[in-house]
Amino acid sequence: MRMVEITFRWLKLVLIDNNIVGLKVNTKANLGAYMSLFSSAVPTYLYATLLSGQYNISNIYCDVQAVYTNTAPVDAYRGAGRPEACYLVERIMETAARELGVSPVELRRQNFITEFPHETPVIMTYDVGDYAANLEQAMEASNYNSFNKRRVEAQKRGKLRGLGMSCYIEACGIAPSAAVGSLGAGVGLWESAEVRVNPVGTIEVLTGSHSHGQGHETTFAQVVADRFGLPIDNIQIVHGDTDKVQMGMGTYGSRSGAVGMSAIAKALDKVEAKVKKIAAHVLEAEESEIIIESGEVKVSGTNKGMGWHEVGLAAYTGHNLPEGMEPGLKEGCFYDPVNFTFPSGCYICEVEVDPETGVTDIIQFVASDDFGTIINPMIVEGQVHGGLAQGIGQAMYENVVYDTEGQLLSASYMDYTMPRADDLPMYQVMHKSTVCPSNPLGIKGCGEAGAIGSPPAVINAITDAIGNNSLEMPASPANVWAALQLNSPKLAAE
C-alpha cells in the first residue's frame, strides 16, 4: 500500500495506490465591493458541490471564505462556480499524474465513478454517465497515443508541444425547488409551458424559458413537431412576452432543454391524451388503439383515421366529444425537476509554445460531450463552440487587472484581451451520450460545458509543453515566457 499526498496551491489530494481517498480544498473568493444577485452562491453551492469531479472520492473537505474587497462586484458568468471546481480538480489530477509518474489517462480512468446512481460527499447524486466512453472518444479523435511523435517533430522546429486533458462534470437544471428553498433561495426552480392547439391544427407553445440566441424557437418547435409528425412551420414558440406567457423562471444554468422542454413534453402528454380520447370517440375505437403519426390520428391496424387538424376542429366545435369532456385543446405544465442533470465529457487540447516569445498556439481542440438526448445537433455544436471560445478566452486572454491603489487598468478592449476568431482553433466536437433518467426527454444540457471543461485542458497542455506548473491564467505570452524562465533562464534567450 502506497499512500501519497499531492499538494497544489490550496489543494491537497490523498491517494492510496493511486486511488483517491481524500481531497482538501481551501478557497478564498473575491465577491467585490457589494453583494450582487448570485455572487455568494457561485463560489459556494455551485462550486463546492462539484469538487468530486468524475471521480470516486470518499472524503472531501472544502472551506470557502467569501471576501468583500474594493474591486467591482461579481456575479454568475457562463458556468458560474463549475469552471472553478473543474479547474481545481482537473489541474490537480494532471499534477498528481505528473508527480506520481503515471499516465494522466490511467490515473483518471482508475478513479472514475462507474456505478450509478452515485452519491458524492458534497451533496450531489450523479444519476448516469459513462466517463470512460468520452475519454476514449476524445483520445481517438485527437490521436492521443501518437502525441510523442508530434512533440519530437515540433522540437525540431524549435517549438514546445504539449497535450492536456480535462474530464469535466457539471450540474445543470438546478433543482428541485424544495431543496434550493431549504438552502435559502427566494424562488422556485421549476419551468412552465402551455401548449395551445388551434382549431386548424397549428400549435402555439408558450414557454417561460426565454430565448436570446439559444435557438429555442427551433429546438422547442422540433420537439413538438416530432411528437405528432407535424410540419415545423405549424409550430410557433412564444417567449419573453409577459402579456401572454404564464409565469416562468427563465434561461440560465443550461436548463432550457432539461427543464423548459420537459415542461413542454409534459404538457404535450396531456394534449396527446385528450387527442386520443377525442379520436377514439369520433372513430368509435378504444383509446389504446389510437396512434398519432405523420400528422394523422389513426386506429391502429385499420385504415380508419382523421387528420390532426380535424381533431383540433372537433375539440373546438364541441359537436361530438366524449361525455363530460370540456371543449378546446390547450394544456399546461409546471415542471419541477427531481434532480440536477449532470453533463460530462472529456476535452483534449494540444498546443505549441514558441519558447522565444511565449506565444501559444492551440493546434487542436477535441470535445467529446455527454449531453444526454440531443434534439438539434447544429445548435448544440454552436453552444459548444461558444463555450469553448469563452473558456479558452479565460485560459489564455481575458484578465481584469487592478493596480495596488484599486484603479482598474484593463478598462477597455485596448487592454482587456477578448479572444478573437484568429486566436481560436478549429474545434472537433463530438458526442457519446447516456440518457438522463430524471426528465422525460433524457436531456442533460449543453450551454455551459465548453466554458467549464476547457480552461484546465488548455492550462494542462501549456504546462505540459513548458515543463513546469507555475502558470496562472491567463496564459498570455508574457506569463508563459515568465514561467519558462523558471526552467532555464537561457532557454528562451537562445
Binding site: E356, T357, G358, Y397, N399, V401, L409, S410, Y413, M414, D415, Y416, T417, M418, S476, P477, A478, W481, A482, A492, A493
Partner: protein, 264 residues
C-alpha cells in the same frame, strides 16, 4: 457630442489660416486617434480643421532614392500602392498591418506620425529610413522629430504635409502585437541605407520610438544575428505595463531584431 466648429480646408494655407483663428483648433485627417479621444472627453477642441480633402496632401511619389508620401494618404493607400510595394515592400507590409481594415481606410500617415503614439508602427520606419518630416513651415529630420510619448518637435498649429523616406538597400520590420490592442508591444525595424545601418524600436521605449545605436554599429560591421545577439537595451529605458514587464519587452526586442535580420 458637444458644440464645435467643423471646417473643411481648401488647401494648406487655408488650413493654417483657419487654425490660427480658432480658439483651440485641431487638424483632423483620419480621426482614428482624435475622435476616440474626443469621445472619451480627453480632448475638446473648439474647431476641427479637416485636412483630409486637400488634393496636394494625398498621393505618393517615387523619385530615385526617395519616396514622398503626402500626409493625408491613408494606411490602406500606402499598403496597396504598387509603387510602394515595388520600392519599399516593408513599408507596404507595415501599413497593411496597422489596426484593422476600418482603421486603415481612414487613418493617415501624417496623423500617425504627428501623434507619435509610443506603440505606433510608422514612427519606427520613419526613424529607420532616416525620414524627413515636411511641414508647412520647414523640414525636420526624424531624429529631431520624435521627442517622447506623444511628443514631437512640431510647433503649435504646425502641419505635416508630407513624409520623405529613403529607399533602403534592404529592410525588415518585425512586430510583436499586444494581445489586446494589437498595437506593437515591441516592433523592431532594421534597415541598411546608403549611409549605414538603422535599428529603430517602437512599443517598448520609455520615451517612445528610439534607435539602438549599439545594434546599428554591430550590424554595420557584420550584418548577422550573431552580431546583435548579445546586445541588450538597458531595462531602465524600457516601459512596462499589464501586458508585459520591462524584462519581457527587452527580451522581445532581441527576438524581433534577430527575426528582422533573418528576413532582411
Amino acid at each position: 457630442m458637444y458644440d464645435l466648429q467643423y471646417y473643411k480646408a481648401k488647401n494648406v494655407d487655408d488650413a493654417a489660416a483657419k487654425i490660427n483663428q480658432a480658439k483651440d483648433g485641431k487638424y483632423i485627417a483620419g480621426g482614428q486617434t482624435l475622435i476616440p479621444t474626443m469621445k472619451a472627453r480627453l480632448a475638446s477642441p473648439s474647431d476641427l480643421i479637416d485636412i483630409s480633402q486637400i488634393d496636394s496632401m494625398t498621393g505618393i511619389k517615387v523619385t530615385g532614392s526617395e519616396i514622398i508620401i503626402n500626409a493625408s494618404t491613408t494606411h490602406d493607400e500606402v499598403a496597396n500602392s504598387l509603387e510602394v510595394q515595388r520600392v519599399i515592400p516593408v513599408l507596404s507590409d507595415l501599413a497593411g498591418n496597422i489596426g484593422d481594415p476600418a482603421v486603415r481606410a481612414r487613418g493617415t500617415i501624417g496623423g500617425s506620425v504627428a501623434n507619435n503614439d509610443p506603440a505606433a508602427d510608422y514612427p519606427a520606419i520613419c526613424l529607420g529610413l532616416d525620414a524627413t518630416i515636411i511641414t508647412n513651415l520647414r523640414e525636420i529630420n526624424a531624429n529631431d522629430f520624435f521627442e517622447s510619448f506623444f511628443e514631437t518637435s512640431l510647433k503649435d498649429d504646425e502641419l505635416i504635409v508630407a513624409i520623405k523616406l529613403n529607399v533602403p538597400i534592404k529592410a525588415a520590420y518585425k512586430k510583436f502585437p499586444n494581445p489586446a490592442s494589437r498595437y506593437a508591444m515591441v516592433g523592431v525595424f532594421i534597415g541598411i541605407l546608403e549611409n549605414g545601418a538603422r535599428v529603430s524600436i517602437t512599443g517598448a521605449g520609455n520615451t517612445g520610438v528610439f534607435r539602438s545605436l549599439d545594434m546599428e554599429k554591430a550590424l554595420e560591421k557584420d550584418f548577422s544575428v550573431a552580431a546583435i545577439s548579445n546586445i541588450k537595451v538597458p531595462l531602465s529605458e524600457i516601459m512596462f505595463d499589464l501586458h508585459g514587464s520591462a524584462e519581457y519587452r527587452a527580451h522581445l526586442i532581441g527576438v524581433m531584431a534577430k527575426r528582422a535580420v533573418m528576413s532582411c
